[in-house]
């Protein structure tokens, strides 16, 4: 369970375009690019009205007009034929943009079709298409274009065709890899299972997810096409009857603009090219930001200095002997959502952990379990912060430690096995190497021999044959990788290990093996373990005590026996009823209607009230206080006062 501040899109109805615009306008550079592009397009459309002279006619031009510097009459000077540079620039934009748009349309259409066909059909189709693609990619585009244009008539449409037909290779490769990614999605398999054919699947499932990529890519291909057209025209291969920026450069260069000192004849068309390419690049970047959600800036922003309200410690906290290893009092953690609102992910949670104790932390997804654990280690993401309470570990107040001191506590004092961590091993390094790295993090002076024996010892401890230390993660099964993660967590001899859903996604038998391992480690090393899980059965089998969380608050906290055999909180009771019990398989499973509250929209009263069948009026108004109803059995529920 990731940090569960899910900020869904608002239900208010917006057209896709409005949604697009809302995200796009946040990217200032993209907006600037768009404005630049629109300006130059307007210039091209309204050329006859904007240009002071008609560059296609040479009426009224005499020899003295050649290479005139800028003057009120010709604001950007004149060219080698005495024509007005400003007018040439304005008309030139028409050709350059036409070539850019049409050529890139051809390139994108071909690249898109080739990429999707190769990615979707795979096999021989893919081999043939992609090998052809590779050959096209190695041939230098410009050289080939020069040859083709030189052999054909240099007309505008020939140029467009040549640029378009040679410019798709780059697009098809990107599209193919995106298609492959989409094709492996389960919903494509689902569509096949429905009986849908290839045409339907490509149109309905592949294309919508490839389209954004095509749009972003099109923008880049347009600018490449414009550059290619300029280059061809500059080399004298453009249509001599048309004016384009490349053609302007060609003439200026060929007819002595440099030697005449007529810099304007080169700068004006150059400026046009730079303008369009820059506009398209900025626009492309802006579009990518919208379409590629991974690049989108996170909703949560970093929070600055935290101020601590004095923790209100109620009397009657657990008095245990010997003193507990870890005592958490009234811990509260918030995530900043916007400038002035925060979501309280953990509210007023207290717990204790003795040496050798195994505590089960139970609750549905999104109830704050992972956040609480990250808070203990002060590993909260930037937007999260501890806003109240205290954490006492082995005599140290973890909240007041400096960052450097906290580094020392992590791994040497408390280590954590993250959820899904077995998939987080580095695939290109051996497992032994990665375990060694964990040891080195905290004991950098260790000798090579000592390290080797320590790695072997750790692997042996978690049930991996030490000779497999030189294997890579992909040679391990899921269960073995999880064992390796446990070895890494044990690398610095911690007193507490936090295991966040260590067996989720593992098969029952492997799950049993891992739990057995944790149990034996606890006995052999005297470890204290916090087991975070939504599986009540696992907790019943393994743990000494259970803390049930709901909506960021403690619902019930007691010994395993008390929680299972005399549960007091309605939520605990419902959870127990929802759990399949083979000891009594005839009973029908019950579920808890509704869903846990969103952390940015918590109910005013008891967090469970909206789903609680026993809720009374008071439950909706005030959050119940946590009471110790019998020895070390804590419950937060108003109904206890009623009965």
């Amino acid at each position: 369970m990731a940090i569960s501040v899910t900020l869904e899109t608002l239900p208010a109805k917006r057209t896709p375009f409005q949604n697009f615009w809302r995200t796009f306008r946040k990217n200032k550079m993209g907006v600037i690019g768009l404005v630049f592009l629109v300006l130059i397009i307007l210039v091209a459309i309204f050329a006859p009205w904007i240009a002071p002279y008609d560059p296609y006619s040479s009426v009224g031009i005499s020899a003295k007009d050649v290479y005139q510097p800028p003057s009120p009459e010709h604001p950007l000077g004149t060219d080698d034929a005495g024509k007005d540079e400003l007018s040439l620039f304005v008309y030139g934009s028409r050709v350059s943009l036409t070539v850019g748009f049409f050529a890139s349309f051809i390139a994108i259409a071909i690249g898109g079709s080739v990429g999707i066909s190769a990615g979707y059909f795979g096999g021989r189709t893919e081999t043939i298409l992609m090998r052809f693609n590779d050959i096209m990619l190695v041939i230098p585009d410009l050289a080939l274009m020069v040859v083709i244009i030189a052999l054909t008539k240099p007309s505008l449409w020939n140029i467009i065709l040549v640029i378009g037909l040679l410019g798709w290779t780059f697009t098809s490769r990107i599209v193919r890899s995106q298609t492959l990614a989409v094709k492996s999605k389960k919903y494509v398999l689902r569509a096949r299972a429905i009986g849908a054919g290839s045409w339907h699947i490509v149109n309905n499932h592949i294309l919508p997810l490839v389209l954004p990529l095509l749009v972003v890519n099109a923008v880049l291909v347009i600018s490449i096409s414009i550059l290619n057209e300029s280059a061809l025209s500059f080399l004298g291969l453009g249509d001599p009857t048309l004016i384009s920026w490349g053609q302007m450069l060609n003439y200026a260069f060929a007819r002595g603009a440099m030697s005449s000192g007529a810099w304007w004849a080169l700068v004006v068309p150059g400026f046009g090219i730079v303008w369009v390419v820059l506009a398209l690049t900025l626009l492309g970047q802006g579009l990518e930001q919208v379409f590629n959600p991974r690049l989108e800036t996170h909703h949560l922003t970093a929070r600055k200095k935290t101020s601590f309200p004095e923790p209100a410690v109620p009397s009657g906290r657990p008095q245990l002997s010997p003193p507990p290893l870890l005592t958490v009092r009234n811990l509260s953690i918030e995530y900043k959502i916007s400038e002035n609102s925060a979501a309280r992910a953990v509210d007023n949670v207290s717990l204790t952990l003795r040496k050798g104790e195994m505590l089960g932390l139970v609750g549905e997804s999104g109830c704050g379990k992972t956040t609480l654990m990250l808070g203990l280690l002060r590993l909260l993401p930037a937007a999260g912060s501890i806003v109240g309470g205290s954490i006492d570990f082995d005599g140290h107040d973890l909240i007041s430690l400096s960052d450097a001191e906290m580094m020392d506590v992590r791994w040497k004092g408390i280590s954590i096995i993250f959820q899904g961590a077995m998939n987080a091993l580095n695939p290109v390094r051996t497992v032994g190497d990665q375990v060694a790295e964990a040891i080195k993090q905290h004991d950098s002076n260790i000798s090579g021999d000592a390290m080797a024996s320590q790695v072997a010892e750790l692997l042996d401890l978690v049930g991996i044959a030490p000779e497999r230390k030189d294997d890579f993660p992909h040679q391990y099964s899921g269960g073995m990788r999880q064992r390796a993660m446990i070895a890494m967590a044990l690398a610095c001899d911690p007193q507490i290990v936090i295991a966040d859903e260590p067996t989720t996604a593992l098969d029952v038998m492997i799950q049993a093996q891992i739990l057995e391992l944790l149990s034996s480690l606890r006995e052999r090393l005297g470890l204290s373990i916090i087991l975070v899980t939504h599986d009540l059965g696992v907790v019943a089998e393994m743990c000494d005590s259970v803390l049930v969380m709901y909506g960021g608050v403690l619902a019930e906290y007691a010994s395993v026996d008390q929680v299972y055999n005399s549960p007091q909180h309605p939520y605990t009771r419902e959870l127990l009823k929802a759990f399949p019990n083979l000891a009594n398989p005839e009973k029908k499973l019950s579920s808890i209607p509704g869903y846990p509250p969103r952390l940015d929209n918590l109910p005013a009263g008891c967090r469970f009230a909206p789903r609680c069948t026993l809720a009374i009026e008071r439950c909706e108004l005030e959050l119940p206080e946590i009471k110790e109803i019998s020895e070390k059995h804590y419950v937060g529920c108003h109904l206890l006062d009623v009965s």
Binding site: P11, K186, M509, Q513, D561, Y564, N565, I592
Partner: protein, 329 residues
């Protein structure tokens, strides 16, 4: 006698792991994903297929769906041979048999609205005269799947729904074609415990109200006890034990079934029992062990198990076990 809807006869599916190289030679190696499976399914019956990853249960599902071609054996649906269907026949067949996938977060296209998702199967099969009729059918399927009132959901997108709601949408997308057989591949393993019960109860209801047969694929024996009529336990591409649910749960015959049952956590700390934890993991289906395929991990294996591949024996009328240590009733 109840009507048989599906009959699977010595079904096999192998994949090629290594092909002999033209230059270097070498042996072709085959993955025996399914290695001879037989079972029948009656109308309205729920059969649970239980086994660890790598036992071939997902390959079996894809083969039954006609998404993978079997390498041997037969699949009879309503008496008709599925393996010989042409494309049109397969399309018609897929209207009758629908699949529910494990991960409701992955099996819905994020760019489609719920209405598009649920009406898509109708479009594919050319059902429903117009948009209104398809919408009406979608609403009925959504309501039958427990999303009420359905109108509220039609215009939403998958990311706006919770995991349980998404799985209901997947189920609605399958129901809209009024299938006769649902193949549910681990439909609840990705969901929270509190929601699992909802989905299982929903499937149980559908089977009651619509007489749909269900094949429920899972690695967790614990969730099926409430729901399945029969359980088939799979190991390395074969069924090792099959029988009525209560018999399997109370008198498991195969040592593998016994081990699987013993590790199911019991939510009562006063009932902590001796667990049989098997060593290692399911072996690679390329090199299937000789004799009984379970013998290397079996806690009660004897010498004979290395040599003899056990065949099914009846321990009661409908309860079959493939183990040398089990004697017929």
């Amino acid at each position: 006698m109840t009507e048989t809807i599906l009959e699977v006869i010595s079904l096999k599916k192998t994949f090629t792991a290594d092909k002999p190289s033209l230059i270097f030679g070498g042996k072709e190696r085959l993955v025996h994903a399914i290695d001879g499976i037989d079972f029948t399914l009656a109308r309205g019956e729920v059969l649970a297929l239980v086994g660890e990853s790598g036992c071939g249960k997902s390959t079996l599902a894809l083969t039954l769906m006609g998404l993978e071609k079997p390498s041997g054996g037969r699949i009879l649906f309503d008496g008709k041979e599925v393996t010989t269907f042409n494309n049109a026949g397969l399309k018609e067949y897929r209207k009758r048999i629908q699949m529910i996938f494990q991960d409701p977060y992955e099996s819905l296209n994020p760019t489609q609205s719920i209405e598009e998702i649920v009406t898509e199967p109708l479009l594919v099969h050319g059902l429903g005269r117009n948009k209104e009729e398809r919408r009406r059918l979608a609403i009925r399927a959504l309501e039958d799947s427990g999303l009420k009132p359905a109108e509220v959901y039609l215009e939403r997108f998958p990311h706006q729904l919770s995991g349980g709601q998404r799985q209901r949408v997947v189920i609605a997308g399958a129901l809209v074609l009024e299938p006769r057989l649902l193949l549910a591949d681990e439909p609840v393993s990705m969901l929270d415990v509190s929601i699992r019960a909802e989905i299982i109860n929903l499937l149980a209801e559908l089977r009651q109200s619509r007489q749909i047969s269900v094949i429920f694929i899972t690695h967790d024996l614990g969730t099926v006890g409430y729901f399945a009529d029969r359980i088939a336990v799979m190991y390395l591409g074969r069924i090792v034990e099959i029988g009525p649910t209560h018999e399997i749960l109370e008198f498991p015959g195969h040592p593998y079934t016994k081990a699987l049952l013993s590790v199911i956590p019991v939510p009562n700390p006063r009932l902590r029992r001796k667990r049989i934890i098997l060593k290692g993991e399911t072996p690679n289906p390329i090199d299937i062990p000789s004799g009984c395929r379970f013998h290397p991990r079996c806690p009660v294996a004897v010498e004979a198990c290395r040599v003899t591949d056990p065949t099914f024996v009846n321990v009661s009328k409908n309860h079959l076990v493939a183990c040398l240590s089990v004697s017929p009733a």
